[in-house]
């Protein structure tokens, strides 16, 4: 297995820069997520690691060896495509055996390996079927089998669940994670689905417009978004952002939104001008003692919880409350927050200010 180090990776297609100056490290055995909206450069990054695109500049090292300019076949990695890319003119068995055949492995060894991975993925029953007639899930398993049969250094997966029906996706996601834990292979996984990324990943890189916005464990990214983009992209509903004009200094533990004082984790950095206060919906409290005032616009019942939309002087925000909590549209309420969970952003640069809470999460 392998550690993948990506440094200052850049890719230009003509005048268009798909990826600019990405750096991150995928540790050995990690399930690593590249997350972002479509066109953010995540797939291009993955394809560069795999060797399907060559970087314009920057390096990719697998196990300490610089492979940036090597063709895919010399990198010893496997790739699972979104549309599976099973060879349509071969049956399942030949599809799985194909990577081994290229290495000139003996027939009996190939047969043994194919049987082994077919067992792992529970596809023994379809080995001699043409790939055309398989169900989506079986195709997915065949594609995975073809990837793991060679025992490569690392796996690249490009939205492998994207082509599956939603009910089935959940099941495959669990299967995939279980498979990863069992074989412990370094995996780089591209997705635009933040839930998938949070659910499966050990580490997440959030990309936007070819730039890495944040790199960290799912919980750090959720709790302490480094930029306004991440705050808005991660979470459903996303983080509430209350925009205001003001000034804060290092050491402050309150922000002044107009006349109201909102308690925050102690700031390590000051800023002035356009600021934004970030609060996750589950950290919003409605009650008379809140520093802000608002009017309930709507409620959305979700079973165990409800989402309550409140209009405040600093914009609209959503609160996640227990389903049993009383909230009537039209009612005026006080709005408060769980102080230690709040983030403060400089709205000019889009970056979160360093605080006592996020220091650990934001390295550099």
């Amino acid at each position: 297995m392998a550690e993948i180090v990506v440094s200052d990776l850049r890719k230009e297609f003509g005048a268009f820069t798909a990826v600019q100056g990405s750096s991150f490290t995928v540790r050995d055995g990690e399930f690593f997520m590249l997350l972002g909206p479509s066109g953010c450069g995540k797939t291009t990054t993955l394809r560069m690691i795999a060797g399907l695109e060559l970087p314009t500049s920057g390096t990719i090292a697998i196990d300490g060896e610089d492979v940036s300019q090597r063709p895919a076949r010399q990198r010893d990695i496997a790739f699972v495509f979104q549309m599976f890319a099973l060879y349509p003119h071969m049956n399942v068995r030949r599809n799985i055996a194909y990577p081994l055949v290229s290495q000139g492995m003996s027939r009996s060894d190939v047969a043994a390996r194919v049987a082994e991975v077919a067992g792992v993925l529970r596809i023994e029953g379809v080995l001699d079927s043409p790939v055309g007639g398989l169900s989506g899930g079986d195709r997915q398993r065949v594609a995975l089998a073809r990837a793991i049969v060679r025992r490569p250094k690392a796996f690249m997966m490009d939205e492998p669940l994207g082509a599956l029906d939603s009910e089935f996706r959940e099941e495959m996601a669990e299967e995939l994670r279980a498979l990863h834990d069992r074989i412990g292979a370094t995996t780089v996984y591209v997705t635009h689905d933040q839930l998938e990324a949070m659910q499966m990943g050990d580490k997440i890189v959030v990309m936007n417009h070819g730039v890495i916005e944040q790199f960290g464990a799912p919980q750090d990214i959720y709790d302490h978004p480094a930029t306004l983009f991440v705050a808005d992209f991660i979470g459903s509903p996303p983080m509430n952002l209350l925009r205001f004009e003001g000034a804060v200094a290092p050491g402050d533990a309150v922000a002044r939104l107009g006349g109201a004082s909102v308690a925050l984790p102690a700031l390590r950095q000051g800023a002035r001008g356009a600021l934004a206060l970030g609060a996750r919906p589950e950290h919003v409290r409605l009650g008379d003692d809140g520093p802000l005032r608002g009017r309930i616009e709507a409620t959305e019942y979700l079973g165990t919880t409800q989402i309550v939309t409140v209009e405040t002087g600093f914009g609209r925000l959503r609160a996640r409350l227990p389903a049993a909590a009383q909230a009537t549209p039209g009612e005026h309420v006080g709005v408060g927050f769980v102080a230690e969970t709040l983030s403060l952003f400089d709205a000019e640069t889009g970056r979160a200010l360093r605080t006592a809470a996020n220091e650990a999460a934001h390295h550099g």
């Binding site: 549309m83 349509p88 989506g136």
Partner: protein
């Protein structure tokens, strides 16, 4: 209603449709049937008026096609040993003896060599070019593709004189190589454009999967792209073959002996010993066969949707 649902036509409409198809088939097949029948008529039957539908079939046309004959006097005929074989018998009934084989066999082989040779070359070069245009970022690729297409925009015969002079200087006149190159040059634009369309339809992920699985770009092309392009290659090959096989004008202009193909040869039969329509018809019938066989052989590929269901779109 799904997009694919089609209303089942009523039995009456189906019958009308079937009748139309049969009528159309008869109209297009009638000339072919006429040629086929004429090949088995005797020369008098072939020019009988009104035309004979029922006639006594004879192989005279085929014998005349493949032989040259000399007229002999009845006395000389009497002096000959008994005829040896069917062909000799047929010929002697017309007071003639077989003098030797005609050039038809040779000309037919020339057609085979030149037709299949240029088809192979067009497909070979066309597939490589189409793959490159389809997959790689080529500078000015749009202009190059247009240039390739533009070679098809004027009738090839418009440049007959320059080609004639060029071929004479280069020593390519009346050579197999010359004709293969010429037909390839005419066909290649069609081949590149058709094949590019087919290769564009094949998702890149297949080759990329092969590249990851340890194959070189060329191996991926041969083992993954070609099998999936088989349908397109087969239909393109049929188009190329039909053009090269039927081409008449350049064949008349540039070939006369060693490399002459069957199309310019068949009409020359008319001049030998009267208007021998059965021999001409026999030649035309035989000339049709290779393309027919080729098309029937490749039909399987034309119909088989081999990529069906392998990709989820």
């Amino acid at each position: 209603m799904s997009a694919h649902s089609v209303t089942e036509p009523s039995p009456g409409r189906k019958r009308v449709a079937a009748a139309l198809v049969v009528a159309y088939a008869l109209i297009t097949l009638l000339p072919l049937m006429w040629i086929f029948a004429t090949g088995f008529k005797s020369p008098p039957d072939s020019i009988a008026y009104p035309p004979k539908i029922a006639f006594e079939p004879t192989l005279e046309g085929y014998v005349n096609l493949f032989t040259t004959r000399t007229r002999v006097t009845p006395e000389q005929l009497q002096a000959l040993p008994p005829p040896d074989g069917l062909a000799e018998t047929i010929v002697r009934n017309r007071d003639m003896v077989i003098a030797g084989p005609s050039k038809f066999g040779e000309r037919f082989m020339n057609s085979v060599i030149i037709g299949f040779g240029s088809t192979f070359l067009s497909i070979f070069l066309g597939t490589l070019a189409a793959y490159a245009f389809s997959r790689f970022r080529i500078p000015l690729s749009d202009d190059l593709l247009f240039f390739i297409l533009s070679t098809r925009m004027m009738p090839p015969i418009a440049v007959a004189i320059p080609i004639f002079l060029m071929y004479r200087t280069l020593g390519l006149s009346d050579t197999h190589l010359g004709m293969i190159l010429l037909y390839t040059a005419v066909n290649i634009s069609l081949a590149v454009w058709l094949l590019k369309g087919f290769i564009d339809e094949i998702p890149r992920e297949y080759e990329e999967a092969a590249l990851i699985d340890g194959y070189t770009r060329f191996q991926a092309f041969v083992k993954v792209v070609l099998p999936q392009a088989a349908t397109g290659i087969a239909s393109t090959a049929i188009f190329c073959l039909i053009f090269a096989w039927n081409e008449y004008a350049f064949a008349v202009l540039l070939t006369s002996g060693t490399a002459q193909t069957a199309p310019p040869f068949i009409p020359t039969i008319i001049g030998v010993g009267g208007q021998d329509w059965p021999a001409v018809a026999a030649g035309a019938t035989l000339f049709l066969l290779p393309v027919l066989v080729f098309t029937v052989l490749l039909r399987k590929h034309l119909l088989r949707g081999i990529t069906f269901g392998a990709v989820r779109k």
